[in-house]
Symmetry: D3
Subunit: 304 residues, 6 copies
């Protein structure tokens, strides 16, 4: 897939989901490198940096894509490949490596998360996260569990979760969002995904912070389930994630004149509401998560 086209497809939401966007961006970068006509290494790297900027510009907040691209480029820079040919070969190898790491991470999380869920537990979740459903389905293999979930207006991603789990023969009870207290009063654990992890909070679907507050009140532990690549290192240096205000039509197709719709799609879940972050590194309290990444992924924290 060529770079320009990929950029367009990401911008137009044709490519969706943090993981898909990240994967396609890496593919586009790799293809750009491989098909480059640069005559020397310096020029090739100029092209690489330019491609990165174009891909970064497609979305305001996509830490996973940024981390994937930075990983590839960091390794190309530090691999001391010397020649254009070697770099082109490495582009392919390193891309594959990042995809494999992502897969390994997902598998790791599935096992760790499934272990946390004990027998006969009621799991509450909001919105749809394939990491969360992956954990639940893994746990259901040898445990008797049940899921309570909320529909997640305006786009009803809660229905996707309900469908997927019901299909896997896991009993699901489905609530409207404003009935979350009824769902959480009986739940034993709350699992949600993450759009971006920062040192001072986790960004996730609107409702996540409100429901985590109720969970805290009822002493229901709240776990964020996400690959560590969702961490946004820029936020360490003062960058604040921008909360996307999406199209009002998602909420109300044709509202009467004089009615303004506020469709803020995400909210920040406060660190002190989160019991732990389940990532490929294991289960860490949210405050020490960033420290773990720094040790394992130093390339993430390189600043020009």
């Amino acid at each position: 897939m060529n770079l320009k086209k990929t950029c367009e497809r990401i911008k137009s939401l044709e490519i969706q989901g943090a993981t898909n966007v990240a994967v396609e961006a890496v593919k586009a970068l790799a293809s750009e490198i491989i098909s480059s006509k640069a005559k020397n290494v310096d020029n090739l790297f100029k092209e690489i940096y330019s491609a990165k900027e174009k891909l970064f510009a497609t979305r305001p907040t996509e830490p996973m894509m940024r981390n994937f691209l930075n990983f590839v480029i960091f390794n190309l820079e530090n691999g001391k490949y010397g020649e254009i040919k070697a770099i082109k070969d490495a582009a392919k190898t390193i891309s594959d490596e990042v995809f494999k790491m992502k897969e390994d991470a997902k598998n790791q999380i599935k096992k760790i998360g499934a272990k946390i869920i004990n027998d006969h537990k009621i799991i509450y979740t909001h919105c749809h996260s394939s990491t969360v459903t992956g954990i639940i389905k893994e746990a259901a293999k040898n445990k008797k569990i049940e899921v309570y979930n909320t529909e997640t207006r305006p786009l009803f991603q809660g229905r996707i979760t309900a469908k997927e789990l019901a299909k896997a023969n896991i009993p699901v009870t489905h609530f409207i969002d404003s009935a979350a207290k009824f769902a959480l009063k009986k739940a034993d654990i709350m699992l949600i995904g993450a759009d971006a992890i920062t040192p001072t909070g986790v960004y996730n679907k609107i409702g996540s912070n409100l429901f985590a507050e109720i969970a805290a009140k009822y002493d229901v532990p709240v776990y964020i389930c996400a690959v560590s690549w969702k961490f946004d290192p820029e936020t360490l240096f003062g960058h604040e994630e921008i909360i996307e205000i999406r199209d009002s039509k998602e909420v109300w197709d044709k509202p009467p004149k004089g009615v303004k719709i506020m469709n803020n799609a995400f909210e920040k879940v406060d660190l002190d509401l989160i019991t732990g972050i389940i990532s490929e590194f294991g289960v860490y309290p949210p405050n020490s998560f960033c420290g773990e990444i720094k040790k394992s992924y130093p390339w993430m924290f390189v600043r020009e």
Copy 2:
């Protein structure tokens, strides 16, 4: 309208809304009395009691209807009319009186509530209550106010509120239910209606208690706006309101197999989250509301 037909129309939800149900029930009772063929007063009262029972049986929880009917019958019993003719005449007069009292109460509440809303205030409301919209429209006559409201899944009564107020040229900002924290963070006052008022809490649309909790956290005062006839005297003696579990289709028309829908339509708002109840009696703290009614409406507390 004859009794049997009215009962059917109430049961089938053809007649809806606490006030409409109450009015139609009184009309049916009055018409039943006026057209009675009873030969003596005792028999006439037997018919009256039987009609009351039939009307009561149409809905599990309708304090306003019960209070209206009890008011009419209490006055017929204590009016010492003696003759059938006199009773038939009184049935009409007393019915009219109850309708007038209701209208007077609504007007009184509108004025009191409008006074509480100071200039340049942001009012938050959930669901649709004609008492609340009445207050807001009254206040908007000479104050510059703004309304934040939530859509109120599953039936989107929040849209009815938004439409009605926008039509009255009051600026409305509309949120999904799970974004209520964003709405309440900026609000100056929260006004909601009531389905039933009890000595230990107010029953209202699902979400009301959750949002009142947020309001309390943010020090936003919460007012219940309702005619005092919404008080259910039976709850003084141990009766607990039944929370209606409505048809799951309202939430999700065709859910996949294995997904159970919980559509509990109401919840109880705890007394200590309520700043005051605005009724035709004035603004009372919720704990002393019942005492006020007892002084003014002794007939409500007659027990056989």
Copy 3:
């Protein structure tokens, strides 16, 4: 039973329990009146007041005894019996009346409380209150309920509760006091008795306020179950109940030297933790309870 002996038996704890103490005190007063050798009405009343003072002095805090005695004397004073003979007769009649009122109240509470407990509910209780066990046994007649209770150190009154209910075939799960969170997390309602009811709080067994706080956190409603005669009118005028510090031996028979035992037997449950008080008057929010009593028992509020 003669007065002096009754006073001794109350002081020595031979007579125990608010109700028993109150009943025996009234009996002693009545017997004192009937056997009086007073020659005129003035002298008889002097004897009555003297007997009252002696009985009052047996215990620092026994609102029920005080209310019973005040009721009898108030009625003797206001009955305008004129002659000694008539007063002696009345002493008997009024004593019987107060006992009957107490029985009626207990029955009334049993019915009201049982109504509040819906089907399949888990009821949490602490210590032992015959009013609470009465309600639970009444409810168990036609409902499937379960009880969680705490042992109530140092005297293990929770075991009395457990035994009594298990005997009535109601399943009981028994916890140590410090495990109350486990018990309340699953409970649907908390019912406790009262040693004294005041306008600003209810005095009950140590632990009651702590556990009511947990209940509030978990949104478990807390009901006080008590006859209204537990109200202490003196507290309206600045009197504060004295929290009895009981013998340290109850806690630790022979503690080592240098270890001081604090055995404060009661604590004050804050009004805002209490959902309602279930008394013979019905279910009232705690703040308006005193107002109800004032209307029904004006004699309780007479001050010399």
Copy 4:
């Protein structure tokens, strides 16, 4: 003192303090009545109503003055004095009566409040209230107590309190306002006065609500000490007290250009932070206070 002059002195703050203002207003009204040249009763009452309006207009929020004047006029209206002479005589008598009631109330409160303060207690207070210092001095007569208080910026009324109590040989520890947590952590009880009592909260000096919140957190009971005449009946009907924004010079005499000073002098203490209101009626939970006044002072609730 003539009416015009009194109005001016009240407006210019020459007369200060809720009680002083109320007393002087009644004196001015009485003197206006006595010196009236009206030829008939109707005209005299016209003059009375006109005087009342002038006095009311001197201050936006002075419930005590309004209550005093309403009491006098209500009694003149209902006394059926018939002749001008009789009314003039009554004006004097009723004025004296209201002053006496006020004195009696203060004494009553002093005794009740002193009873609530047990031995060896640390009392926390904010600002200066003669009702509070009266209680403390009464209690100190036979109890060993200590006072912690906050200085109460911007006008340092806390110093007046400290001086007055130290002079009465009561040990005082004095804190800056922002150190209130240190003061309340060790306090056993918090006593404050009231500028206005309403059905949904008590208005008092800025800081009162903030410090009552800390008290609630630390389980320190909060009592409002005030004569019941501080109740503002208009607030029952939707009127909200206006929080006076006082001159910025009180806070900072010559602030630099570009700095705006917010000097809001009062705040509303939420009902659920208040344990009880100590008035001449006794100790009532704040929610039922209004009910007590309605029973005792029906004239306060007359609405034209």
Copy 5:
């Protein structure tokens, strides 16, 4: 002591306490190694692993024993001793090293903890922890301190604490568990031990979380006092500590039929209730404790 016997003694609770169990397990392992008849290094290690498994199996949750054994084996594996003789010698040396490290840690903690306790402080503790009593006795050497403690049903370990401290001339005030609010209201600091430390919470005696919640409310700092070897590295990977449900006889020897006893012996103290963990590393906030261990004890995190 031979391996089989030690396993039996641990299982039968003849050996009790995390430290004792750990020490005896290491001794048994060392003795097993020293007396081994293995002919080659591979076989010797097979025996070592088999012994480890047997020791691990004696108790479901004993992180300290597991850490001790893993430390010994890790060092044997990485010591590259080559010959059986050298390994046998090393087994002794490394065992002694682990015992010395434990002693050093205890001493270190005693000094650090004693420093945190300032003069004239009231220390609250629950249950019995020799680490906590060690700190208190160290602090009492040159500071005037006092201890409040709770009896800790069902086994009254609080009495062991009270006895030990009273014997050291430290004044102790002893409360029943449900009176913990009275104890904590006056306390300046809360110190408790730990059964297991995990990245998301600390497991300790039932009541610990409840009392830590009260401490947080009253702004009393809560410190966990424990050697870092109580950290359970398995919990990083999804393992959740199993809360031991002990014999119901501990609570009630012969409960009546129909009464079920819940004797859950531990509970998880939430991280956000803990001010700091005092270990041999110093005073760390609980969230960063795990990071410190990882740096110092990498062998703890080896996963096969």
Copy 6:
């Protein structure tokens, strides 16, 4: 400046402010080294250690001075300069280095902090911190912001903040301390400085913890803005910062006899009230701040 004089000037408060004190102490140490007459390296180091002790003794709590001095000495010790001449040269170089690091840190923080403040934000601050005002002025360069601040009794440092920001054309609204709820209700972010950072909390001006509690309630994020040199490594080993009780005259110049003034100048802000610490390392959650310093400044944690 010679050592003795500098010590005196620090003691007498002639030199004030954590940064000034640290800078002057380093200058005095460097000058002491350069002018030393020591004949060998050992003696020179003895003089260095002696100078350090004298400087340390000038103030009980000045982590920044201690860190500066320790940095210089650590580098002298580890630089292996061998000869006196080389050490004297190094003293100058290393002193300059520490001053440059401090300047770089301040600039770094200014940029990071300014990034966190989004457009049109209301920033709340208490007391005066040049780090905070630096951030605000940086942010105001290209953002439209507004500041709410509290006056900060007893020394009114809030006025210094207000003046400085108003001069920079940033609109300031100024409140008395007890009106902090009004200020925070509308604020979007709270920024304060730090006197000392410890692993379990941040010490700052009295009021900081109280206002951070309100901020937490209103979901206003709280950031500590400080160079990492404010971290006090001694607190890791049980040392607790001493809260300075300053001269009572600052609060009330001539208080009446019998009034004790408590002028505790600082309080500890609990970690869980702090969203993040903005230092030259970036934005870290408070729990992981110490870990970051350990990695970057190992010399800070050297213990003899």
